[in-house]
Amino acid sequence: MPTFKDFKLPDLGEGLTEGEILKWLVQPGDDVKLNQPIVEVETAKAAVEIPSPYAGTVTTLHHAEGDTVDVGSPIITFDVDPGGTAADDGVAAPAQTPVAAQADMVPQLSASQVPHEPGMIGSPAPKAGTEEKIEVLVGTGPKSGKLTRRPRKAPTPAVSPPADRTPPRPPARVSAAAVGAHAAELAAAGGAAEVRVLAKPPVRKLARDLGVDLRQISGTGPGGTITRGDVEGAVGDEVGTQPTESAPSRDREFDPATREQRIPIKGVRKMMAAAMVDSAFTAPHVTIFTTVDVTPAMELVERWKTAREFAEVRVTPLLLVAKALMVAVKRNPLINSTWDEAAQEIVVKDYVNLGIAAATPRGLIVPNIKAADKLTLPELAAELQQLVATARDGKTPPADMQGGTITITNVGVFGVDNGTPILNPGESAILCFGAVRDMPWVHEGEIAIRKVTQLSLSFDHRIVDGQLGSQFIADVAALLAEPTLFVAWG
């Protein structure tokens, strides 16, 4: 049973990519012995005799003398078991041979890809019309590079940088303070100097530019690293109450030469400034004022302070003003809207996300209570209390500072009567609530000492005209002057 084996032209150790068949030393039908010379192949102007890798009968010569053959392509086929009793079925297709397999690993560079190295041992003088060949003295010559990627398995979860940080072998003779080494663990030791944050350089730079103290942020990135988003969201969250602020103290002293102090514009201040500018120079602001005798409202507030419903919460005049505002909004819905320039629409909202302007040492922020109009008074009181406390702690989450629909600013706490507040961007009205003073007032036809306060309302005159604005502030005032109106208008 014939067994066919191909012999492919090998790389003859010279970085050969092709060879020319010079002379066949055998013919089809010849019996050849192992290592018997079968062909002369041209390399470098010298003929190389190739000895037969098989004993057997020559079946086919695949190329004629004079042909140029690529390394790795078959040049001759043998029947290594002519008329024999081989066990395999007489599949005429020539089997793969180990030699052929070896030759398969030989690079199949096209001649134009082969670099020419003049002067190497054995380099041929270029023949007219042929490509240059490379011959090297040692080794099998350069292999061609890959041109496509090998397919990978399904991706493994990305190795987060701290993930490969298994607790390291403690180095010998290093004190306990240095051993351990994970930032989170060290943070437990306390002391700002020992807390190490995990953040890559661009994030650190962003934090520095925005005046954010990385030590106060918990990171949401892999392994607890602080991301860009974490920094951006933390703007305005600084504790700030400690005298040490993020920047070193060098920019907090007056320069004796110029007697000037230079404070970098960054952080909350920067954001607040941008918002102010945006608002002030987009919406035409008009502010109207009213003075109100709020004695009944204050009496109500006093009573609530000891009421069971408000036992858990702080009750302040602001609570009542907030409630009054929301009732007034219900009566004057257009005041609770936004000017959508892009869509050329005014968006009127049926919900009140009530913003409360809060002063923190870092600057002004305006967190809002979502759907404040749906809250009961005790709930509202609780929310207000929480809002103020959170703001003071510098922990207001970014979401709380977005989506507000109308705002109250309380300048009364500073002893100020009124103001011309600037709208929170995206809103159409802002109510300014001044100090409550004991003032002489005409009450039931007589001069009396009454609790009097001033309300100011700034509004976006694109949406709100004088009548609407006046109506709105008058409603707020009326509720504070006569709280029983809450029942009538609720």
Binding site: P161, P168, P171, A172, V174, A178, R196, A199
Partner: protein, 325 residues
């Protein structure tokens, strides 16, 4: 306990090695009768004989090449290259033979050779006597490279290097040969040969160094303490392989890394430290890794070598720059 100079500590360590293992040989130019140009092998030929302490012909390649043959025969040669700048004739034997023999022989042939090389500058010498060629050898797989910085380490590390079955290039800071310290020769080695040492603990920045620069860095750290800066100094001790865990632990604590070494900065061992620290401590770094090194010039003439060598001011300047990032 004995107060020893670094050179004497090496001498005592070598003596101990020779006593412990009769296969240990010392070979090099002038190591026998003269006791070495720095007296590191002083007295050893008298006590151990010319067969074990060999004054060789003047050819560095020959010293290392014959050491290879002796090691194949089962000896433990400790070769001395007289000065750093003269190691290069032996470079081929070191990188082509010493480094590769174990690999080439699939582990059948071990070459427990120690190659001692005094290195570094600051001694007012002429050309080729102040080099820092350690990077070439760190760059050669198959070799291990260490450097002592003080007498205690010198005493123990030389013995450990001689006892190692791997070839070790042992760099000795020649400007520190006369530094003294108390060495407990009766005790046990305080560290393994491959451990880095926290030479000084600190919290604000990590100074990573080795060899002659360790003392300079400690002096710089002491000066910095006066100004309220708290620096940690890591003595690498082993240059290949480096005790990376010790380095990373420190850098993760301080967030600042400064590498100090005499060798020219370009393509140096310092560059490897910087690259690997950056790769592995990326999230904890508050500043890029800075390097305080020799410049990209041949070692200068002695009158201006102090401007070339990393000194206290340059080190602290780098620390300042790192902390200011």
């Amino acid at each position: 306990m004995a107060t020893l100079t670094l050179g004497k500590a090496l001498n005592e360590g070598l003596r101990k090695s020779m006593e412990t293992d009769s296969k240990v040989l010392i070979m090099g130019e002038d190591v026998g009768r003269l006791g070495g140009v720095f007296r590191v092998t002083d007295g050893l030929q008298k006590d151990f004989g010319e067969d074990r302490v060999i004054d060789t012909p003047l050819a560095e390649s020959g010293i290392i090449g014959t050491a290879v043959g002796l090691a194949i025969r089962g000896f433990r040669p400790v070769c001395e290259i007289q000065f750093d700048g003269f190691v290069f004739p032996a470079f081929d034997q070191i990188v082509s033979q010493v480094a590769k023999m174990h690999y080439r022989s699939a582990g059948h042939v071990k070459l427990p050779i120690t190659i001692r090389i005094p290195f570094g500058g600051g001694i007012g010498a002429v050309e080729h006597h102040s080099e820092s060629p350690e990077s070439y050898f760190c760059h050669t797989p198959g070799l291990k490279v260490v450097s002592c910085s003080n007498p205690v380490d010198a005493y123990w590390m030389i013995q450990q290097a001689v006892a190692s079955d791997d070839p070790i290039v042992f760099f000795e800071p020649k400007r520190r040969y006369w530094d003294k310290a108390d060495v407990d020769t009766a005790g046990a080695a305080p560290l393994s040969l491959w451990d880095a040492n926290v030479a000084r603990e600190g919290s604000q920045a990590t100074v990573i160094t080795y060899g002659p620069s360790v003392k300079t860095c400690l002096e710089a750290a002491a000066a910095a303490q006066q100004e309220g800066q708290d620096l940690e100094v890591i003595d690498l001790r082993s240059l290949s392989p480096i005790d990376w865990e010790a380095v990373f632990t420190s850098v993760r604590k301080t967030g600042h890394a400064i590498v100090v070494a005499e060798a020219p900065v370009y393509a140096s061992l310092s560059a490897e430290v910087a690259a690997r620290v950056t790769e592995r401590c990326f999230y904890e770094l508050e500043a890029p890794v800075l390097r305080v090194t020799g410049f990209s010039t041949p070692y200068p003439t002695s009158r201006i070598e102090e401007d070339y060598l990393p000194d206290l001011d340059r080190i602290l300047d780098a620390v300042d720059r790192s902390l200011a990032f």
